[in-house]
């Protein structure tokens, strides 16, 4: 086979440097006009690393949720999961833009053209080992029941965190969190109501919901141990120690599972997060190949 032309090849030459970068959001800087000065006493590198963790969680879970588009059990549910993903994508953009604003750049920034905003470079040009997402969001969807259990766990954790981050000493992070709270409330309620229907539904839906619970539960193990960055930022009044989220998250999950007539597994043995340290399984690499492949093949494409 000789050189294969694709429709995307045309993008590389379309506008001679005049057009918008084809794959991102360069037309719309999410923090345009927001004062991004870092308050005194906050280490910008730590703040950036923290925003990356929270932004990556949102970006990766968004990508997982959008994998249901064209596959969900009914159209309304497809739209619902895509809407949850869209909210998370917005949160990811804000958080990655905040990380970029304090100087977090990716190793392979040079692959991207200079005109690409930092948030897009962070999303498209980092390798898996540069991602700081948790194992909970990275795991494959499984069936619909497992997807709902994961959405319940992830939104409960994130809602508990964002509720507290509204008081962060970084005003940008506090504003992003405050904006996310009502969104995450919708996601958690949606997942909780689905789990009631599945758990307390037919024997088959109950069986599969319980299998989803059993598959997701071990992924909770590394969500409640602070990294060094979180410990330092918690002391500085910027972040929240994830251990402080445990009781609330555990309580929410137990309430929903019991109402859904599902068995609450034993709490997993807590361990430090591998994902926050950049250690991920092959699932993340495959997910990022989907997310990033086109942009990396045509890094200078415009439209």
């Amino acid at each position: 086979m000789g050189h294969q032309e694709t429709v995307y090849d045309a993008l590389d030459h379309a506008h001679g440097g005049e057009g918008q970068w084809a794959f991102g959001t360069g037309f719309d800087e999410p923090l345009a006009g927001v004062d991004t000065t870092v308050p005194e006493g906050i280490d910008p590198a730590d703040l950036g690393a923290y925003c990356l963790m929270l932004g990556d969680d949102a970006l990766v879970l968004c990508q997982r949720l959008t994998q249901w588009v064209t596959n969900a059990p009914e159209l309304e549910e497809e739209v619902a999961l895509a809407n949850c993903g869209l909210d998370l994508l917005g949160q990811a953009r804000l958080l990655l833009a905040r990380a970029g604003s304090v100087g977090v750049l990716c190793r392979s920034r040079a692959l991207a053209t200079g005109s690409i905003p930092d948030e897009d470079a962070l999303a498209y040009f980092r390798g898996p080992d540069e991602f700081r997402s948790s194992g909970l969001v990275e795991a494959p969807n499984g069936d619909f029941g497992q997807t709902i259990v994961r959405l319940l766990a992830a939104s409960s954790w994130r809602l508990a965190l964002f509720t507290r981050l509204r008081d962060s000493r970084d005003p940008v992070l506090a504003a992003i969190a405050a904006k996310g709270v009502p969104e995450l409330t919708y996601h958690r309620d949606h997942a909780a109501r689905w789990l009631l229907r599945l758990g307390d539904g037919t024997p088959e839906s109950h069986r599969r919901a319980q299998a989803g619970v059993d598959a997701v539960w071990p992924l909770l193990a590394d969500l409640f141990t602070a990294t060094d960055v979180e410990t330092r930022l918690t002391a500085a009044g910027v972040a929240v120690d994830p251990a402080d989220l445990r009781d609330e998250v555990r309580g929410v999950l137990a309430t929903v599972l019991e109402r859904a007539t599902l068995t609450v597994p034993g709490w997993p043995v807590e361990v430090p997060s591998r994902g926050r340290a950049g250690e991920h399984g092959p699932e993340l690499a495959a997910l990022l190949a989907d997310l990033q492949g086109l942009a990396r093949k045509h890094p200078a494409a415009t439209w």
Binding site: E77, A82, N83, L86, V172, T255
Partner: protein
């Protein structure tokens, strides 16, 4: 160099003009509403001759912000304001309570049920809602209050899908946030 819009008493009118122009710009996804009706337009002011416009996103992932910004800049340029700076404000977070009375009437006239009061925001943990949605909405087609929610999510982030039990028509509802 443009003279400061409010530098002298005679220029106050220019700022009022700029505000009036900004207030005519409509939402790309709810075109029956202006950004002012929607509560997305937060401020129009003069900073040393530059018209500074502040807008706030409805949802974090609102994909319309870029279009709103471009529409505002375009409308103000067309009205003769050369220096325009559209800025995002994130705090306080947008609430459907900011949709004006006029905006609510326009939504209903356009076949979209306007939101009720937003839930009260408290400081502590957000209570889990396990029952069916407590939201209610009046059918924008026939006016019946006998309607049901079919999905909490719809074609845009800010709306839910409902169905009227009286006239059987489906309709969208701007959900409270």
């Amino acid at each position: 160099m443009t003279a400061a819009l409010t530098g002298q008493s005679g220029h106050f009118g220019r700022l009022a003009d700029a505000r009036a122009v900004a207030e005519t710009v409509t939402d790309p996804e709810l075109p029956m509403l202006t950004l002012a009706d929607l509560g997305v337009l937060r401020d129009v002011r003069d900073e040393g001759g530059t018209v500074v416009v502040e807008i706030t996103p409805t949802y974090s992932g609102c994909p319309a912000m870029g279009v709103m910004r471009a529409d505002l800049v375009h409308a103000l340029h067309r009205a003769g304001f050369a220096d325009v700076d559209v800025r995002t404000v994130l705090s306080p977070a947008w609430s459907t309570d900011w949709i004006s009375e006029a905006g609510r009437h326009k939504l209903a006239a356009g076949g979209i049920a306007p939101p009720g009061h937003a839930p009260v925001r408290t400081a502590g943990p957000v209570p889990l809602q396990l029952g069916p949605s407590r939201r209610t909405a009046t059918c924008p087609q026939c006016g019946s209050a006998d309607t049901e929610e079919t999905s909490e999510f719809s074609g845009t982030a800010c709306k839910a899908l409902r169905r009227c039990r009286a006239c059987l028509e489906p309709f969208e509802h701007v959900k409270e946030i």
